[in-house]
């Protein structure tokens, strides 16, 4: 059966009732441009050998921008040939001058390997091009040659931070001749990781300048609201945007699917996993090559088992070989075999976790089914982009679960199909992150008196370090005099150095699988907590608070854990305030004190509460940034004390769930807390604070987006069919209190009403 026939059946079948939106995008021919005349003939020949006779228009545009000497960010869909946008200028520069060097940054090792293979194919036998990956796996014996002879060094931010910059005198050749720095997957560098990367780039530029090089940056990003803003925040230079894809595509369908309600009053829907399995099963039975994305390892197993059964007796080769799971824990050889099977069409269906999201080459498939919203619109489009060949039609189905954000998206498709609302945010001047990188930079090169760091004045930080005997001022420069290697103690994944280590004790030999910052440790690593790592579930067996170590063991359960905190908040400084609004808004610096009290076990998909337990851990304090809005006294009086409290809780809950729509962050990156009478505002107040010490810019952005945020919250509550609150809107009725839904709506209407 062809895909069109399957879709036709689907359109007329029973399940069609659950479709909230069905968008069809007509096929598009390629927009081609000839190779520029200035391109080196050997490179043209190498491209022709690979069957490339023309450039797509976006590739040609990117080349032009690069040739003008501008920094560029290229935003194009999955598999539109974006790698040529940087490989062509880089290879060209090597062909013109053999001394030229370039650095490629990818967020993961797997992507680095793929890029190396791609470059090697392009170079073939004829181009003299030395490209190497340089990461933790690179043998010691090979490093010397890479440092001196590699035209292209492919690495990741962590290795640049600990393995290259602190040893720059050995990388003399690279830094003296550094022409291009390529940063792919720019949208991944947001929040804490991005704030760190921006500082690593400051260090990179500082070292390159020392050797007389001013590299040009070529960045690539998935579609987000502010790609050029994010890229230019990361590299702190103006960036030119290239975002019109000239790549061809066949006709494509994008379907938003909401599982039917089983209890309207309580807002409970059918399991998103089951619905996804049935939809994918129909595709697989019809012979449509299908990729299913699930959010946890357990879900991939459940879905794979279901699909194997669905395929049995219908597909040649039987279930085992034709339906495969694909996730983080698989061995590289296993993964490569599955990727090859998908490319060759022997594997007819695969169930993947997000491991597949990032550019790994599996060719193109006919259908993608997403069991749950992958957390950001950018990710959803990247996953959907796996379906769609040059000419044939393709389909992507997003099956919503019961969480507020999932529900919001399937019911407000304009957010999905319109201009991306998601902002990638970084805050390179987060004082904790900044101070750490000033240390690394001082180790790498003495700071001059009055020298800034990415435009930020850091002299006082240096005086602070001098007082601790870490740097010494001499002759108008600050010299590193400590014995330690600062970069080794600084993880790019967390804001403060005081981290808890997560140790997996499943195998006889324990291994460290992650780090959690101190403030979050009591929420994420209390005993019995479920800790997620590469889509695998681990349960915390023991938390050694004094040693800052959590011992975890692999488990397979159908729930996640959520800790409840008794939180108090104190405003230390108000940065912005807008009293003109019906619900006056502010942002600023706060001290959050949190005492974990108990945790809940919450079932995937349905978000039901399936158990709980106590947490016995001391309280934690954190300095961070927050956004808050206050309810004027007359509105509060009008609501009455009970409804007011329910409304505040409901609103806080909603905002935390909806904010990731605008912020490109995880729902766990922000939290809310309410005060019926705030000592600071003297009014009822809802605070949304950042979970990372120092903050990464979420609070300021929410202040700016105040109106849009409230409108999105209102649309969600208004559209929800429940009687008085449910997990899909303001929270289950019992939790926020009776009347929560109405009270929340009332507050939202006030906030969105005519300005006073």
């Amino acid at each position: 059966m062809s895909l069109e026939q399957v879709l036709e059946e689907f359109r007329s079948g029973k399940a069609a009732r659950n479709v909230t939106c069905w968008r069809s995008f007509p096929g598009r021919p390629p927009r081609l441009e000839p190779f520029p005349t200035w391109l080196h003939p050997s490179l043209v020949e190498a491209l022709r050998r690979r069957g490339i006779e023309h450039l797509y228009s976006h590739q040609a545009a990117a080349l032009q921008v690069v040739r003008r000497g501008e920094h560029v960010v290229v935003v194009t869909p999955t598999a539109s040939g974006k790698t040529l946008c940087y490989n062509i200028p880089v290879v060209e520069s090597v062909l013109r001058d053999d001394a030229t060097r370039s650095l490629y940054l990818f967020p993961t090792k797997a992507l680095s390997q793929d890029q190396l293979a791609e470059l090697e194919q392009l170079a073939g036998e004829t181009l003299r091009l030395k490209a190497y990956t340089y990461d933790g796996d690179t043998p010691q014996s090979a490093r010397q040659a890479i440092r001196t002879a590699g035209h292209i060094v492919i690495t990741n931010p962590d290795m640049l931070h600990t393995g290259i910059l602190p040893h720059h005198t050995r990388w003399l050749r690279l830094f003296q001749n550094l022409r291009y720095v390529v940063i792919d997957e720019v949208h991944q560098y947001r929040g804490v990781f991005g704030s760190h990367l921006a500082n690593v780039i400051r260090r990179l530029k500082r070292v390159a300048h020392f050797y007389g090089a001013r590299p040009q940056f070529i960045c690539c990003s998935a579609t987000i609201a502010n790609p050029s803003e994010l890229a230019s925040r990361l590299i702190e230079e103006p960036v030119t945007l290239v975002d019109e894809s000239g790549a061809p595509s066949g006709e494509r369908h994008f379907i938003l699917y909401n599982p039917p309600l089983v209890n309207r009053e309580l807002g409970i829907r059918r399991s998103c996993l089951l619905e996804a399995a049935e939809l994918a099963g129909a595709f697989v039975r019809a012979g449509v090559q299908t990729l299913v994305f699930a959010r946890s390892r357990l879900s991939t197993e459940v879905l794979a088992t279901y699909l194997k059964r669905a395929a049995a007796g219908i597909l040649p080769g039987q279930g085992e070989a034709t339906v495969r799971g694909y996730r983080g824990g698989y061995l590289p050889t296993q993964r490569r075999e599955i990727e090859k099977g998908l490319r060759e069409g022997k594997v007819r269906a695969a169930v993947a976790t997000n491991a597949l999201e990032l550019g790994i080459d599996i060719g193109r498939l006919d259908a993608v089914v997403m069991a749950g919203y992958p957390g950001s619109i950018a990710s959803a489009w990247q996953q959907a982009g796996r379906a769609g060949r040059r000419t044939d039609p393709a389909v992507a189905v997003l099956v919503a679960d019961s969480s507020p954000l999932n529900q919001y998206l399937v019911n407000q498709p304009e957010y999905f199909f319109g201009r991306s609302p998601e902002h990638g945010l970084v805050n390179p001047d987060n004082p904790f992150i900044l101070a750490n990188h000033v240390k690394c930079a001082a180790f790498e090169l003495p700071f001059e008196e009055g020298e800034d760091f990415g435009g930020t004045c850091v002299q006082p930080v240096l005086e602070h370090l001098a007082a601790q005997g870490i740097v010494h001022r001499s002759g108008g420069r600050w010299h590193w005099i400590a014995e330690s290697y600062p970069a080794e103690d600084i993880s790019l994944r967390s804001a403060s150095a005081e981290n808890f280590v997560v140790v997996d004790v499943t195998a006889p030999r324990p291994r460290v699988i992650g780090e959690v910052d101190r403030f979050s440790a009591s929420m994420l690593l209390h005993e019995e907590a479920i800790y997620l790592h590469e889509a695998e579930q681990y349960q915390v067996e023991k938390l050694d608070y004094a040693e800052k170590k959590a011992y975890v063991r692999k488990v397979e359960v159908d729930y996640y854990t959520d800790a409840s905190l008794a939180v108090s908040i104190r405003v230390l400084a108000q940065f912005q305030h807008d009293p003109e609004h019906n619900l006056p808004r502010s942002s600023g610096e706060v001290l959050v004190t949190a005492l974990p009290t108990m945790f809940k076990k919450i079932r995937f998909g349905t978000h039901e509460n399936v158990g709980s337990g106590p947490i016995h851990l001391p309280e934690e304090q954190m300095h961070t940034t927050a956004y808050w809005l206050q309810v004027p006294r007359e509105v509060a009086d009008d609501l009455g004390p009970q409804a007011l409290e329910a409304g505040l809780l409901g609103l806080g809950n909603l905002m935390v769930h909806i904010a990731p729509l605008f912020l490109l962050c995880d729902a766990r990156d922000i939290r809310s807390v309410v005060e019926v009478r705030s000592p600071f505002t003297r009014c009822p107040t809802v605070y949304v604070y950042e979970r990372y010490p120092g903050g990464v810019g979420f609070a300021d952005k929410l202040f700016e987006l105040h109106g849009e945020l409230l409108a999105a919250c209102r649309d969600l509550v208004r559209g929800c069919t429940c009687a008085d609150g449910c997990p899909s809107c303001v929270g289950p009725g019992a939790e926020a209190g009776a009347g929560a839904k109405q009270a929340t709506l009332r507050l939202l209407r006030t906030g969105l009403g005519v300005l006073r």
């Binding site: 006082p460 602070h464 002759g475 290697y485």
Partner: protein
């Protein structure tokens, strides 16, 4: 919770200029050690020169013992064959003290000590980083000082002192002068020569066990970084004075060590080593010669070590190596005698003697039964401890020998 937030935030927001260099009240270096500034203080390098008598006694020898000695085959052993024809007095002894053990741009070289024979004496020059800002004039002066010298003598210079200095030269945009000189690094040679006897081959251990010299009142190397930081903090140079002493002793010990090594190496070819050389050291010297490709000298040393009554595991090791050298030199009879001795006494420490003998019985003596028995014994004695590949090779050899036996005697039943 200790929180740097406020301090840092305040610092970031209200940047205020401060006068350069805080006045420190400590005792300046020129009042502790006589010398001269390489640039006007503050922010300067400081050079201390000391002339020692040629008759200065250290580590069982006089400095004058090194005069007239040619580097000779020690140059080959230390991987600096270009220096073979040079005399020790044409070389510069070099040792650095740093703020850390890792080679990286954040590690400062705080003291570079050099020693060389000059006009009837031995002159030690210590280039001291009195202020980090004085690094460039210090390095320039050092480069001038090294200009025209034939080569360096160091202890672990290849992996420590020279990369550290190279990094400093690069950071000051100067051509890295010391790295371009031939380097006679004593550490790898010392490891081979004294490794059979001594657990630690640090300079201090060699002084104690080889030179018979005990340091008294010496500051341990690991304290150097914190002493220097203390000096920077207080400006009191009495804090770092012991570091100069430590560095001086390192240089003198290197002179004594190289003088001894040159002497030993010159005698290696004849196996005629001085009586104070322990048999294990003689075998160690043989090993160093063998690694450097000097087969004849290696053979002579191993023979001498065995003749001097070397015993225990080093004896078996030396025997096996000796036999291998015999074979390489075409001395088959001698090799067979050593292997047979090892097998007969059951003292072989690897399967090699069995295999070599088995080859001999199979191909030369035409006695496959004996060959087969030898391989069987080797498998029994060593099979479990070998790498899978080596074990497989042994079993393969055995299977091949057994097939040969079957063919000769006909199918046995």
């Amino acid at each position: 919770m200790e929180d740097p937030w406020h301090e840092i935030r305040e610092a970031l927001r209200c940047a205020r200029p401060r006068p350069d260099g805080e006045r420190r009240s400590g005792i300046a270096v020129d009042r502790v050690l006589p010398g001269r500034y390489l640039s006007p203080p503050p922010g300067s390098g400081y050079l201390v020169e000391r002339r020692l008598s040629i008759h200065h006694y250290h580590g069982g020898r006089h400095l004058s013992d090194a005069l007239g000695q040619a580097v000779g085959c020690l140059g080959v052993l230390a991987g600096a064959p270009g220096l073979e024809g040079n005399l020790l007095e044409e070389l510069v002894f070099l040792d650095t003290e740093t703020t850390g053990l890792d080679v990286g741009p954040g590690t400062l070289v705080i003291l570079v000590g050099t020693g060389r024979f000059e006009a009837g004496g031995f002159v030690v020059r210590q280039f001291f980083l009195a202020e980090p800002a004085g690094e460039r004039p210090l390095l320039e002066e050092l480069a001038r000082h090294l200009d025209g010298c034939a080569g360096l003598v160091t202890f672990n210079g290849r992996h420590f002192d020279l990369p550290q200095l190279e990094s400093r030269f690069v950071l000051n945009r100067l051509p890295p002068a010391p790295s371009s000189l031939p380097n006679l690094d004593l550490l790898p040679v010392a490891r081979r020569v004294w490794g059979l006897r001594l657990a630690s081959r640090s300079l201090a251990s060699l002084e104690d066990n080889v030179l018979g010299y005990m340091r008294e009142g010496d500051v341990p190397g690991y304290l150097v970084p914190s002493l220097y930081r203390e000096y920077l903090r207080t400006g009191d140079a009495t804090t770092v004075a012991p570091v100069f002493e430590h560095n001086l002793r390192d240089i003198l010990s290197m002179v004594m060590l190289v003088s001894r090594l040159v002497d030993w190496c010159a005698r290696a070819a004849s196996g005629d080593l001085p009586p104070e050389a322990h048999p294990a050291d003689v075998a160690g010297l043989g090993r160093a010669c063998e690694y450097a490709g000097l087969a004849a000298a290696g053979t002579a040393c191993y023979e001498a070590a065995l003749a001097r009554g070397l015993d225990g595991a080093p004896r078996q090791l030396a025997s096996e190596r000796l036999a291998r050298l015999y074979r390489r030199l075409g001395m088959r009879a001698e090799a067979l005698a050593v292997w047979s001795g090892l097998v007969a006494s059951g003292q072989a420490c690897s399967p090699d003697p069995y295999i070599e003998l088995a080859k001999h019985y199979e191909h030369v003596a035409r006695d496959p039964v004996r060959a087969c028995a030898l391989v069987e014994e080797a498998i029994v004695r060593f099979g479990a401890g070998l790498s899978p590949a080596r074990e497989a090779a042994l079993r393969h050899r055995l299977a091949r020998l057994r097939r040969r036996l079957d063919i000769r005697t006909g199918p046995s039943a």
